[in-house]
Symmetry: C2
Subunit: 229 residues, 2 copies
DNA sequence: GTCAAATTAAAACGTAAGTTTGAAACGCTT
DNA sequence: AAGCGTTTCAAACTTACGTTTTAATTTGAC
């Protein structure tokens, strides 16, 4: 009878004992996250989720209200802390160094992503893949809920990029940020566009540190290339 | 030159007269392409497709066999000529200039994509978006059918990149190609990762020429930055 | 220990999906 | 005009989906 439960996206920490079996809601979130990444939202059924999570089918609707709301919970559980971590990193670095170099700026975004990727307890690299999928799938969630809520992220990083690359005009800067974030997201998501063509790419070594080592110079070079015209 | 027009997916040219109403199969392909891009494979039903194409529901199974096969036809109708065009462009430029500069190489890939994007009769930018979606959705089609069939594409461009950037080691080069194609695909697909956060980005001006103008310097700068270590 | 609230469980509901069927309509050649 | 293969059509079939319902069970405060 309780419907007020939905939309409370708070991530309940499971009782520390009995480490083998987390909360029902948490178990659903964990499995759903993996399956949404693997098969996409539409192709993932509640029956797949509840079977693998070893919970009853009705548990999803009881705890989250609907499949849509479940997706939102899965998504927000990771995104909110990630955004916060990026902003905190940016604030911290600016407090320490003043105006940042482009490389420092790139690292302010990458370091939290890297930390997330290496932390299995927070889903590891799964969420970045989910984010990447959700982006190209153009979800209702992204268009409605998020765009307003997290505009602060783009504003903060936009200003920081403007300070770091003062030679660039507004438009030029927007394009480069677009390209930079595009390649960074895809790198962390492991979307290897060349894998359509070639069987086993060297790149498929998925060590996050290796990604960063090659990614940062590429992105910084693109950002700092001479202004157009 | 032409590297095998394999698996002729039978793109039947419609009779040139009566331009208003193409072939049934073609009408299905056109609508399906748009809807697959818009909503994704799973979320697009045959009933949506056949209604908008103004054909009978059973026509899809009659002409293509199944929804999966329809997707493959939609996909191959565009990819086969695009790959061929890229290889032809590369061959032509190498015949004219010998070893290419990184920028020329990038253009050998971009020019056919640009031409496709600007040609509504071939679906315009739709297919690049479909390709991008299909990539992150990790389709069975990509893993099985395509990887072997079009490995020649990556081999040819890989060799060309190796000649254009002789200072780079195998691994370094593979990473940079990965990043370069990643950002190029996403740029043409219009996957603006920043649009989650901000309502109307300058970037959303979708003029393909504008994309190229900013994209090429960014990619070339990333590719030609000093080798690692 | 008791009782109310919160959670889990099994089953069913209504809908929409992909596919199949068999007959009708069409386009040719003869 | 007749005949025949091709294509279209309306309808039904099977299955799986998200969701709801109702009852059983567990949990926690007193």
């Amino acid at each position: 009878m309780d419907t007020a439960r939905q939309l409370d996206t708070t991530y309940k920490a499971q009782p520390p004992m009995e480490a083998s079996k987390p909360d029902t809601a948490t178990r659903i979130l964990d499995v759903a996250e993996r399956l949404f990444v693997e098969h996409g939202f539409e192709a993932t059924s509640l029956r797949m989720i509840t079977q693998q999570a070893e919970v009853n089918l009705a548990a999803v609707n009881y705890h989250f209200g609907s499949k849509d709301a479940l997706f939102e919970s899965v998504f927000m559980r990771r995104l909110t802390p990630l955004i916060a971590a990026c902003l905190a990193e940016l604030d911290g670095m600016e407090a320490q160094f003043g105006t940042l170099t482009p490389e420092q700026l790139v690292m302010a975004f990458i370091r939290p992503c890297l930390a997330l990727s290496k932390d299995p307890s927070r889903g590891g690299a799964l969420f970045v893949r989910l984010l990447s999928r959700t982006l190209v799938e153009n979800h209702r969630l992204l268009r409605e809920t998020l765009s307003q809520q997290y505009s602060v992220f783009v504003q903060r990083f936009g200003k920081a990029f403007h300070r770091a690359l003062p030679a660039l005009g507004q438009e030029d800067l927007a394009w480069r940020m677009h390209f930079a974030f595009s390649v960074m997201f895809n790198a962390f998501a492991g979307n290897d566009v060349l894998k359509i063509f070639v069987r086993s790419q060297i790149v498929s070594a998925r060590d996050p540190d290796m990604i960063v080592k090659h990614l940062v110079p590429f992105v910084v070079a693109g950002l700092t290339s001479p202004p157009l015209r």
